[in-house]
């Protein structure tokens, strides 16, 4: 007769590569990731710590549920990809991003439709005002695209950043 000896031991299963300290360490990493994500959002213009709840809400709406539920589980890359598209930025944020550059664009475009047409005629020789970047031109281009302009000046102006952005390709 065979005799079997059963030796029972208890153990807590933490999962592969985990130990009793893993949970605390992950909580800490989670907090760090959230802070890092907020910082990323601030850089991308999605999150502005100075924004009113109303403004923040408008932006969140534009980005859909990914932003409304601030979770580290959403890959930052996917959010960054959406945020980088200027068409996804609220008008209030475009305005905030452009307000400092507004005098430079005024200088670039000239006055009215006639001024813009004159610039376009000589676009190859037009120097981009110092201080304007590819990003700021894209943002302003999107801003004027959303302006309800009754006389079509912004439509003509929009061709100027389009031409200038070709230089960055």
């Amino acid at each position: 007769m065979f005799c079997y000896i059963l030796n029972l031991t208890t153990s807590i299963y933490y999962g592969e590569g985990r130990n009793k300290y893993s949970s605390a360490s992950e909580d800490f990493e989670d907090l760090q990731s959230k802070d890092q994500l907020k910082e990323e959002w601030a850089k991308l213009g999605i999150w502005d710590p100075n924004m009113s709840p109303d403004e923040a809400g408008k932006n969140a709406f534009n980005f859909g549920f990914q932003v409304i539920i601030p979770s580290v589980y959403f890959k930052a890359g996917a959010i960054a990809s959406n945020a980088n598209k200027v068409e996804n930025i609220s008008l209030a944020r475009l305005q905030a991003k452009s307000r400092a550059d507004s005098p430079l664009f005024k200088e670039l475009f000239g006055s009215g439709k006639k001024g813009a047409l004159k610039v376009l005629e000589n676009i190859e020789n037009v120097k981009i005002p110092e201080g304007l970047t590819k990003e700021s031109i894209k943002v302003y281009r999107e801003l004027i695209n959303r302006v309800k302009d009754p006389v079509g000046t912004q439509e003509v102006r929009a061709k100027i950043p389009d031409k200038l952005l070709e230089r960055f390709k």
Partner: protein, 154 residues
Amino acid sequence: MLIIHFLQFYFKLYYVTEMIDADQFVIDNLSFYKEKESKLNNGFIGFFDWLRADLTTIVGIRMCFFSHHKYLSILQSFEYTQVKSENNCCELLFDDSEYFSEISDDQDSTNNFVFESIDKKEYLFTFGLDGLSESELNGLIAKCQKVPKENLLE
């Protein structure tokens, strides 16, 4: 700069020789305080067109604000303003002259600040004048009451 004073039944035009960076103006013994959104955006709240009867005569202004601001509804409440362009812009004619659209297409954006009285029944809107020619400016000044800077800052 041009200051348009919007009162309940009429408006007044004031000309000040320079831009004044202040949070409070006093006009007709009434204090006006810079409205926070125009302050936050450094006076970049939309675009405006000078309405011209001919190449040198300004007869009004068209104001097209960024749509998230409340300024259009504020101006719309005054009977002497006209909302145009699918309700996105507001026009104010300084007199009974007609204007021509073809030459009224500035889409300027300089120093466009808003000040409000404490009871929020009267407003001041400021406009930079650097986009106007000398003859346009002189014609406009003739329609305005000139106000010394120090009077505004009393």
